[in-house]
Point group: C2
Chain length 547, copies 2
């Protein structure tokens, strides 16, 4: 049996655009002699539409679109992800479904059983879980149709409080009683740098334990926080990956399940390269899917803004990136030079706008109110916020979206000014720890020096007062990042983290900084998610808590 | 049987503070001869701890605290809400539980069956639903112990796409087969201006249909977005409300279920008064629970900031509120006068800081970049952002939290400047439509003129360019608010809204404004929720969508 894997980049709620892509793939699959074309989870709406699923006109349009796609399924069949109304008098109003299209019509609908409702996932908010299991008979095969989480009844226990079985049913086990010949999984599995390995582990395990071939079709593309990496696969009943589609790009392949040729898989890549590619896709899709082409950012001469500028140029083109250099009275001369060299290396337009005059006008305005008081973080924040005004003015006047350059380490401990350097439409590095930012810079410079070496090697500084260094108020980044990683991604307790060899007082201090800065993150820009636990939708903490 | 209803204000994660309150209530209940003291849902942790529930040290501390409370339960019993570990090998790791304490120990644990996962609720993220039903026998009574949503198997269908039965099980029906004599409900039911009526409807209906007395204990107090209004009740099997505790404050009452005295209920209040009281509680708890006492805001002379200033004074005291008057070159003379009169009426400190000098310094800094371009919204935003810098400087220097004054109508259509007048730690009016702001102003002035009449009657204006009025770019507020209400709260389609008698083009324009400004709301301050659908956690829309 020949099956087409259609790994497409959808736009949420763009029924016309999404169905055009789906129909084009069906046509191509038919031309290549496929019996069945498989699309990803919620393909017709894009994953994830959130509370648009509560709008009846959205659901009506989704079903109408699926029926229009079905018309193209003659001489070929298709499995297309989309919502389906729950006709029962009780239960949530929708199912997350795989629509089976054949002979020009909708023939059947299969519902998702396991609804991920943790981290960035929120599916029980909208969907009723399926509880009745049956196979799809198509082309003489008995197919176990599953949707994403349905094959994840066992989860990696990366949090130390984790359980590996958070569901009380295993859909594949239920379906295996019915003797299928093939497993198909329609997915929308977002990228994190360790997700690809976890995903292969579980899929290989499921193929092997059932002894059945497994066809896995993932979505690709980004929608603000979540980046979907693609990497659709066909795995043999022996657990071998026979086919693997592209990462971070659309792909399409017709596979003959009966043929045993050479395995066609993707080259192995390092974590840093994956993160680099994910961020480039994340920026590009954020802009293009929201109808914008141009980005701006403040270039400080430091490593974070340098890396963001490079990623922006790779995502949008040098002609669409424009930067501001905004030196203060505390900026070192080399900061402006480094920023200028980078802009020239990238061929992007830059302007230099010193901020001291604006800062001084605020200081004069506040002089009588602040009389007799020492300068403190207030004055530092005025500088960051004056830069924020300049960059937003550029954004407003020319229609550039501001890219935020805060990294995950800073975001965690609140080392940034709300309404100042925390401004931006998208936080490119908000899920990238500082040490990983260094690796990204080295990766970017691997062939030639794009980011000035000086930006990479100089001690990190916000340059908001004379001689300031990040290490004045924070531990050195290798230590800080490791503490943060075990607290945030691994959910370890302070005691467990200290047991890794850190001063308990330092651990307590860092965790306290993370906790008290929840209010800043509440108002932060959306963060491109590249780890298993990003700030944002995936980490919901009470704003006011004493713990 | 005498039962104590303990309606307390908890702080999330403050195990020491919460248990001190709980133990004090148990002691008092015992002194008053109660057999059973009932507390609210998740009392020991405060509702809702969000992802703190994923921290094993948090869960351990919760259980330890419950066992410490149990020691005080001699000669009295108690039902206390708290998380409980799911000991089964499969399923989510926790239950949302009611712990039954007697004879100085934990005697039993009852689990919640219906887990609200919609709007602001997120319980399936952390909890496994209960599926096994049984009664509690205590003091010779057979008690149906339920937790909040367990009695809401039928819901009000306020959204036009809504179903009234979103669950496939009815816990009260299951429990009624076991012939209980009494229903107890431990709740954490947040305020919205229509919630009190819905709550009474459903509780009265459940008491009546079962013919059993129903004891309902709610939490009171606010945690950033959610405000819990209390109003605990005892309802007779005839459906009559026999006891009703305070709204918006702690309360405690020992009730003899056998006695039929005069009903002791709360006075009926109008919607505007409820919203007023909710907002005052929301401000007070936000500050006090996060360890702050002092608020600041910009007073424009308009109605929104005037109402917020009054509410802040009522929540925190005049000595803890300090305001800035920040006139621009476009501010009318009476704006400053109105603001000054209000500040004097309230007895709060005010300073006047004109913004023109700072604004001009930005314009000079941008002159070469903006050469030859006409002024537009960019220059308006610079004014709003310069004010933002001043108010944040005051906040940073003196430790005042900034109160945001954006109302729901503005928040909906994006009529506000990100990093400017959208600044603030808490958005007091973010869930209050403009027309309701007028009603609040009238309510505040009902006995004497606190808010200058001129602030109420003058045409609304942002005063960011000469002669500007809100109605230049928005429909009149009665129209705008009605369209927004049916779109946001009632989830009606554009067609349905137009059928109410509005120009379809206007409806489309307003809805488009709501949709394209999702990116602004993503970075907005937390909003005190007073309607059934507030912006924030209860309305999750994709940031990038085409629908």
């Amino acid at each position: 049996m020949k099956i087409a894997l259609a790994q497409l980049n959808y736009r949420i709620g763009d029924f016309e655009g999404n169905s055009t892509k789906i129909i084009r793939a069906i046509t191509q699959a038919k031309a290549e002699g496929a019996h069945l074309a498989v699309f990803s989870e919620l393909a017709v709406t894009g994953y994830y539409p959130h509370d648009l699923l509560e709008k009846k006109e959205f659901i009506a349009k989704a079903e109408e679109t699926i029926r229009a796609i079905a018309v193209h399924c003659t001489g070929i069949t298709a499995l297309v992800g989309g919502p389906a109304i729950n006709q029962s008098a009780t239960g949530k109003k929708l199912f997350n479904a795989a629509w089976y299209l054949a002979d020009g019509e909708v023939q059947d609908v299969f519902y998702k059983s396991l609804l991920p409702t943790y981290d960035v996932f929120d599916e029980y908010r909208h969907f009723e879980p399926n509880r009745e299991f049956r196979l799809l008979e198509s082309g003489g095969r008995r197919i176990a149709v599953t949707i994403c989480e349905d094959v994840w009844d066992e989860q990696p226990t990366f949090s130390s409080f984790g359980k590996d079985k958070i569901y009380s049913v295993s859909p594949l086990q239920e379906l295996s009683f019915m003797k299928p010949d093939l497993i198909i999984n329609l997915s929308a599995s977002p990228f994190s740098h360790n997700q690809e390995a976890w995903r292969k582990d579980i899929l290989v395990k499921k193929a092997k334990s059932s002894g059945l071939p497994l066809v896995y079709v993932n979505q690709v593309g980004a929608h603000a926080e979540m980046i979907f990496d693609g990497g659709s696969m066909v795995i043999g009943g022996d657990g071998e990956i026979r086919h693997e589609l592209r990462y971070f790009g659309e792909d399409f392949r017709v596979v003959d399940l009966g043929l045993k040729g050479e395995n066609q898989v993707q080259p192995v890549r390092e974590t840093t390269e994956k993160i680099h590619d994910a961020l480039v896709l994340g920026i590009r899709d954020y802009f293009h899917k929201s109808g914008f082409a141009k980005a701006t950012l403040g270039l400080s001469g430091g490593i974070d803004s340098a890396v963001v500028a490079v990623l922006a140029v790779r995502a949008l083109g040098a002609e669409n990136v424009r930067v501001l250099l905004m030196p203060s009275r505390y900026s070192s001369g080399h900061s402006v030079d480094d920023a200028r060299v980078l802009a020239e290396n990238l061929g992007i337009r830059y302007d230099i706008v010193p901020i001291h005059e604006a800062v001084e006008s605020f200081e004069r305005g506040l002089a009588s109110i602040f009389e007799g008081l020492e300068p403190d973080v207030t004055e530092e924040n005025i500088q960051a916020r004056a830069r924020g005004i300049y960059i937003m003015a550029l954004s407003n006047k020319f229609g550039h979206i501001v890219l935020n350059t805060t990294n995950k380490s800073e975001c965690a401990v609140g080392y940034g000014t709300l309404y100042g350097d925390m401004n931006g439409g998208l936080a490119v590095l908000g899920d990238v720890y500082k040490m990983e930012v260094y690796r990204l810079a080295r990766f970017i410079n691997r062939d030639r020096e794009i980011i000035p070496e000086n930006s990479i090697v100089k001690p990190p500084s916000a340059e908001l007062r004379p001689g300031q260094k990040d290490s004045d108020s924070l531990p050195e980044y290798p230590v800080l990042d490791d503490i943060l990683y075990h607290f945030i991604e691994m959910n370890e307790s302070p005691t467990e983290i200290a047991a890794r060899g850190y001063d308990p007082a330092l651990v307590t201090k860092v965790i306290r900084m993370v906790n008290i800065n929840e209010y800043k993150r509440f108002q932060a820009a959306p963060i491109l998610r590249v780890t298993s636990k990003a700030f944002g939708a995936g980490r919901k903490m009470p704003l006011i808590a004493r713990f």
